[in-house]
């Protein structure tokens, strides 16, 4: 009796185990794949589009507010689509991917091209090309900066709608410059002008040996460091949108990285990363005079109580350029409501949506007219020279490489090397050598 009980229990558990393991992964034909009918994709009249969709995005409270405004406008335009907005700030990528794993993917996902490249290579995303093809406006390059589209294509098919591209610029506190008697940055200021300004702007106000005001921030994030490299004229790859050669270990990049490192450690013009992160004021509180950051920071810097301007780091080399961070909206392949999802994703790129996204300074929109419009450039609390956010795009390179394993590359090669440099475990030269070989490896394995 006992033997029978035990053996039957055992067999049951084995059976259960096998059944469940056998169901690992998706079987094709299992789920109704949203294959868009090429001729009708995206052409359904707005009030006939129906569905209940989930939309995820990240952002500070101010950014999420902007998103909600867009959603309100969207709701009016598409009264029969219900949108559930799920903001995710903690580990966005992992969270969304886990949802996909469990078969509960959102319908519209905000993300960077690097996410889209990855997901598209895993065949997770809806092919949006038919939708784009049916949309004359989107393909009109007098209206939209279609040159940005390439980053959002996988195997020549669009896999996301585009909201815009934000360049990394130099925010500076005009009041602090005035107080220190330093002239504002100009288009052709040099690195020595820069260092001289920094020197005057780093102040120990009460003579206690502690710097109370710093000249500039120097975060460890790869975008900021790339901004420095770009300003010096260095590149990561030969063509960031179609990399075949790693060029990170160059003279120019060494100078750039050295400059970044020295700002913190040699000159003390910048607080170390922890100090920058921490709340006491920072740039927004008027305690740091300059900040290299994405221009999306305008969304809440419009409220600061000092005069602010936008400028660029010194660009002395003929190859000096800007870096830009792009974002857009993709749709998972097996969404239940592809038309409704497309309605939302495309609304973000349509004039109405773009106007709202740009109105707070959040995005330099892909819609050219909106991006340069008076309402945006001269919005309330806009920094001086706000137009730079648009003009810099002409000379900007994507901060992310168009590689399916770019996220992994940053996580496993770039960031650890920078961390080591930051801790003083590696010299600048060694860091770049390490990054060079790591990037080459990742490029190979990513193919």
């Amino acid at each position: 009796m006992r033997k029978r009980i035990i053996s039957s229990l055992f067999i049951m558990s084995l059976a259960a185990g096998l059944v469940l393991t056998g169901c690992g992964g998706k079987e094709s034909g299992d789920v109704d794949e949203a294959k868009a009918d090429a001729t009708t994709a995206g052409t359904v009249p707005h009030d006939e589009v129906e569905g209940e969709i989930v939309f995820t995005a990240w952002g500070s409270d101010a950014e999420l507010e902007t998103d909600r405004e867009v959603l309100d406008a969207f709701q009016k335009e598409y009264p029969n689509v219900k949108v559930k907005f799920e903001p995710i700030n903690d580990d966005y990528l992992t969270k969304v991917e886990t949802m996909m794993l469990a078969g509960e993917a959102p319908d519209v996902i905000y993300g960077h091209p690097k996410y889209f490249q990855k997901w598209a290579s895993q065949d997770l995303l809806l092919d949006m090309q038919p939708y784009f093809d049916n949309n004359e406006q989107f393909m009109d390059d007098s209206v939209y900066a279609t040159n940005l589209y390439d980053a959002f294509k996988y195997e020549d098919k669009m896999v996301a709608t585009v909201n815009g591209a934000d360049t990394f610029l130099l925010f500076y506190n005009q009041d602090l410059f005035d107080e220190a008697g330093v002239p504002y940055p100009t288009e052709d200021w040099t690195w020595s002008d820069f260092l001289a300004a920094c020197d005057k702007l780093t102040i120990d106000k009460d003579g206690d040996g502690e710097t109370d005001q710093y000249a500039i921030t120097a975060g460890k994030g790869h975008e900021q460091i790339e901004a420095y490299m770009a300003a010096f004229g260095g590149q990561l790859y030969d063509d960031v949108n179609d990399p075949s050669e790693v060029q990170v270990n160059s003279e120019l990049n060494q100078e750039a990285l050295q400059m970044w490192y020295d700002l913190i450690n040699k000159y003390g013009y910048a607080p170390d990363a922890e100090g920058t992160e921490v709340v006491t004021g920072g740039f927004d509180g008027g305690q740091i005079a300059m900040d290299v950051d994405g221009v999306y920071q305008c969304v809440y810097r419009s409220g600061v109580d000092f005069n602010m301007g936008l400028a660029a780091l010194p660009m002395e080399d003929v190859n000096s350029h800007y870096v830009s961070l792009m974002a857009g909206y993709c749709i998972p392949k097996d969404t239940k409501y592809p038309e409704a999802a497309w309605a939302l994703a495309s609304f973000m790129q349509e004039k109405a949506g773009q106007e709202i996204l740009a109105s707070t300074g959040l995005i330099t929109t892909v819609d050219k007219e909106v991006a340069e419009s008076d309402a945006v450039i001269n919005m309330e609390g806009a920094p001086d020279n706000h137009i730079l956010r648009v003009t810099s795009l002409d000379n900007a390179v994507n901060v992310d490489a168009k590689l399916t394993n770019w996220q992994e590359t940053v996580d496993s090669v770039w960031q650890p090397a920078i961390d080591k440099l930051y801790n003083g475990d590696l010299t600048v030269k060694e860091t770049l050598e390490k990054i060079q070989s790591g990037l080459e490896e990742m490029l190979e394995s990513g193919r």
Partner: protein, 299 residues
């Protein structure tokens, strides 16, 4: 078997049926499944591919795997004795009557019942190198505190310090054990002229030994599975200096989608825990004194 015996047997199984179902569904089947997956290469989205012991072999070539074992091992080796023994000493200290003793016990116990998230978040800011509480205090002593969470040399120590704050977890257990020691033993010892230390080593510790063993084992098992601190405070860094084992399992499973590898790591952990537990149990045989063993020998 008589009809009545059969009925009794059925009743027994009925009563433990929730446990049986739970064990099968939530423990045995998942264990078998995870064993199976550990021999596959699986990213959940596509069907798995059987790869035999590749995952296990791969682990032994993965320097991050060794790093995670090292980090977790060193952490446990430092924290475990502190938790078990320092906590015991404090319990002995607090094993007295007094008006405010309840308050003190609560203070000591409090950090260990706070949500792990709260503790991690709180200490994340305490460890801030420029403005955090700890360096502020060290500064008052004239010491310049290190960049606790940004410096790979110090991050482990930060984890240890934080862990010490929560060693009160076993306090209640210890207090109960201390209070179960027959007072007659202490009386007899006092009459014999035994001092504090003699009493401690001859009476208190032996009587408490089963409890200490229990605390040691359970604390060991939970310490080896540290996760929250790594996730909230350091993401395993800087430079993987706080890459705890279970955090690395999470990374492999949910971030890199290497489910097979994650399952292999989980099974290795099980084996490690099992081996360590057996080792501890064997080693303690001489040390632990069970009341049922020797009645009347101590008097």
């Amino acid at each position: 078997m008589s009809a009545r015996e059969k009925k009794e047997q059925m009743k027994f199984f009925l009563f433990i049926s929730p446990w049986i179902i739970g064990f099968l569904l939530f423990t045995l089947v998942p264990m078998i499944m995870s064993l199976y997956y550990s021999f596959t290469d699986w990213d959940v989205l596509t069907p798995e591919r059987f790869v035999g012991i590749e995952n296990y072999k791969g682990l032994f070539q993965d320097e991050l795997f060794f790093q995670s074992v090292k980090v977790t091992g060193i952490f446990a080796a430092i924290v475990l004795p502190l938790n078990v023994f320092l906590s015991l000493m404090t319990a002995i200290l607090l094993n007295m009557e007094g008006r405010f003793i309840g308050l003190f016990r609560t203070i000591f116990y409090l950090p260990s019942v706070l949500s792990g998230v709260v503790v991690a978040i709180l200490w994340q800011w305490i460890f801030n190198s420029k403005y955090g509480l700890l360096n502020d205090f060290l500064g008052k002593l004239g010491i310049e505190g290190p960049r606790w969470l940004s410096d790979s040399q110090w991050s482990m120590w930060a984890m240890v310090i934080m862990s010490i704050w929560t060693i009160g977890g076993n306090l209640i257990l210890y207090l109960a054990g201390l209070q179960a020691v027959p007072l007659s033993l202490y009386e007899a010892a006092r009459l014999d002229g035994a001092g504090f230390w003699k009493k401690l080593f001859s009476i208190t510790l032996p009587s408490m030994s089963p409890i200490i063993l229990f605390a040691f084992l359970t604390t060991m098992i939970s310490t080896l599975q540290t996760f929250t601190q790594a996730y909230i405070m350091t993401d395993g860094g800087p430079d993987n200096s706080t890459l705890f084992y279970v955090y690395y399992v999470y990374k492999n499973g949910f971030m890199y989608k290497k489910m097979g590898k994650a399952c292999a790591m989980a099974w290795l952990l099980l084996i490690i825990i099992f081996v360590l537990s057996v080792f501890v149990l064997k080693a303690s045989e001489k040390l632990v004194y069970y009341e049922s063993d020797e009645g009347g020998k101590l008097a």
